[in-house]
Assembly symmetry: C2
Homo-oligomer: 431 residues x 2
């Protein structure tokens, strides 16, 4: 058996906290631990934090990836006792208190699992093989390339039916992602395509939004769901509710009722499933592949392993079906757990998690958003302004805020961003 | 035999000019043909124009790809009788006056070959397989990822020799690209690595610049070559002249004299070779895989096929060994040929090409550049300012100018851009 290869991170007098995942939960927690009496090691398979709420704008050529992701090393340049490792975790050995990654092993005193959730294809490999998910900035870029490439292809196709299949787009899932993508596509069709693709008739481009349930934005108020639907219908999106997609082979989308749509693009935003990690007992993995935690974010049956964010399933009186998988929960859990571990080191009592719901929002288009705030429900222009402000302020880094702000202003004024670039991975050369 | 599939571009009363390639030459020509009595079709395998002089800043995480590339469709939104096709040309059928692309056939009245040049590995497949070229924005991004990934890997390697091979970098070719990359790497080592990779010792990172000839910047004045070398030596770059690299297997760089350097990264900027295109007679393909043209940019032996830019080899009294393969020649040839074809349609005489050399420049680092201008030679701060101004003004698009300008200011003030992102292509998911 090969010798175990350990990360070269110095052992110090203070206990080591290993955080897996630099998303909202993990990043917030690691930052909240600055100047805490712990050594902190953050592990992520990417070297950057991704701002998920704006992936759809990357996919729609409205923003550059670099405006909504932030290098993790840069976020911690000034934090002492902090180490970053760009690696993928393979498994947890809870007996030895060690994690194995693709780049080496690492011992922990406290392990924090903040690995988030990924697209849920509900076990349908055929859909997974052909549909376009949007849960990472790479996937968003891939979707951008696909939309633009298919428009280029469509120009050279004379057969009407065949051409339609290259320009029509089907979106599955009427949650915030699906609604935002559908709205952004409708705006692209209206404002940008007539300038860039004069040879195509924008009216021929169909945008389908398919939702399995009876309403859009199921996690929000009934009013917001209805308003979002009205906005989308106004913009010419074809909304189908109570409709389940059962199969997709890259060309034909088949619904449960047997009806079909021909489309080369199926954007899949129908649900999420917790990312997998080996080494935890089977009985702590619950619905949606989430990890069961107590109100202190501690994994059931463990003393020093915690889970926070989308991967954690915490049940409380107010949330008998577990907390929603949203950024706010992740941020609040990350912060609480950091504070609790500091309290612990001071001999103080840890505090249980209590979610403060600051509301939820979705934007459909320019001047069109819906917002369920704690004190009121809003839709239209003011909801949209609040949406802009909240997202701008939540971005990490002054430069990212500035870049996104600039981009939004330019896009708002010109309706014509200049990011419609199909940048493909490099191909090695034959000499 | 399958039926020929033609692009669906309308035939009009005016003759059709087909331009292959949207680089400096092709883009300039197509734009100079606005409101000319011709239908213009521009074909490019990418949907964007690339600003080659700043590739190295993309590779060094100083600029985003989107700041230095521009969507070709957007560049022509307002030009009438213009069509863009995102396709790769397979061959020319000069008998039928048609070109074949991977997306269909197209007839032409005039054909302009502006396909540029790519990295020249001088037939060494082993080097081509393992070295890192930098002749496209995709290659620049790939190089950026490789540099950052190797730093991440190096952190986990305890063996000194082994770690060195991951952090040392070898650059082959002392032309402007090699010099600019070497300088930028030296600055990254000095200003950025100590912040981001505190666990590494910057002094241990060796940057080698290897040139086969007796001096750097061979295309420029002796003084500029010497000054560039001085700047680089000051910045701690290891410059080796009169040294030829003969082999590289991904780990070991072997020189002609038998000496070796261990490095996981070999940046190859040792020369260019014209891109290949089928269908031209063998005798018009000359040294460097360029196409022999007369002083009107016309391909020898043809009546309606022209070549401009890096792919063209034009000999004149002043340039008995053909014009240099630089942006200025490409821009001037593109403009002249457009004007000549307009003259031709008016029954006027065409004018021969006369290159106006506006000088050449290379930047080594902050406040450090060399410039051979028609009226004087400069180096240091003023050369650097001129370099900045010229490159900023040459960028296409107001937004690109603004973005690059903003980035340069931020980088200059902070020495710490936030673009050190390893964004990998999407990987399809197993459910």
């Amino acid at each position: 058996m090969a010798e175990k290869y350990y990360f070269s991170i110095p052992d110090t007098e203070v206990p080591r906290i290993v955080i897996i995942g630099g998303g909202f939960a993990g990043l917030k927690m690691a930052r909240s631990l600055r100047s805490a009496p712990y050594q902190v090691v953050l592990i992520d398979k990417n070297n950057y934090h991704q701002f998920q709420p704006l992936f759809y704008q990357v996919a729609m050529s409205g923003l550059e990836p670099s405006s909504i992701v932030f290098p993790l090393r840069k976020a911690f340049q000034k934090q002492k006792q902090f180490y970053f490792r760009n690696a993928e975790v393979i498994k947890i050995d809870s007996g030895l208190n060690e994690v194995q990654t693709d780049r080496g092993w690492l011992a922990y005193d406290y392990l924090i699992i903040a690995i988030g959730a990924d697209t849920n294809f509900f076990g349908n490999q055929m859909i997974a093989d052909h549909a376009l998910p949007m849960k990472s900035v790479s996937e968003a870029l891939y979707l951008r390339n696909k939309i633009l490439e298919d428009l280029e292809s469509a120009l050279n196709i004379r057969d009407y039916e065949e051409r339609q299949s290259w320009i029509d787009i089907v979106i599955v899932g009427g949650g915030p992602t699906g609604v935002e993508v559908a709205g952004a596509l409708a705006e692209m069709r209206k404002y940008i395509l007539p300038k860039d693709y004069k040879e195509l008739n924008p009216k021929e481009i169909d945008i389908h939004l398919i939702e399995a349930g009876p309403s859009l934005l199921a996690g929000m108020s009934e009013l917001s769901g209805q308003k979002a639907e009205e906005f989308l219908l106004d913009m010419g999106v074809l909304v189908k509710k109570n409709t389940q997609v059962t199969s997709y082979d890259g060309k034909t989308v088949t619904m449960k009722d047997g009806s079909v749509i021909q489309s080369r693009k199926l954007i899949w935003a129908a649900g999420v499933s917790g990312n997998k990690i080996s080494g935890l007992p089977a009985d702590v993995i619950v619905r949606g592949n989430r990890i069961k935690v107590d109100t202190f974010c501690k994994v059931e049956g463990s003393d020093n392993i915690y889970a926070i964010g989308d991967i954690a399933s915490m049940v409380s009186e107010a949330y008998p079906n577990a907390h929603p998988q949203v950024a706010q929960v992740a941020l609040q859990q990350g912060q609480l757990l950091a504070k609790n571990l500091i309290r612990k080191s001071n001999g103080q009592t840890e505090k249980p998690f209590k979610y403060v719901d600051k509301g939820s929002m979705a934007t459909i288009g320019k001047n069109k958003a819906v917002a369920d705030l704690p004190f009121m429900k809003l839709n239209g222009f003011f909801a949209w302004l609040i949406w802009l402000a909240v997202h701008l302020l939540s971005l990490i880094g002054v430069k990212n805020k500035l870049l996104v702000f600039l981009n939004w202003i330019i896009n708002y004024l010109t309706y014509d961003p200049s990011l419609r670039l199909i940048i493909r991975p490099r191909v090695p050369k034959k000499v």
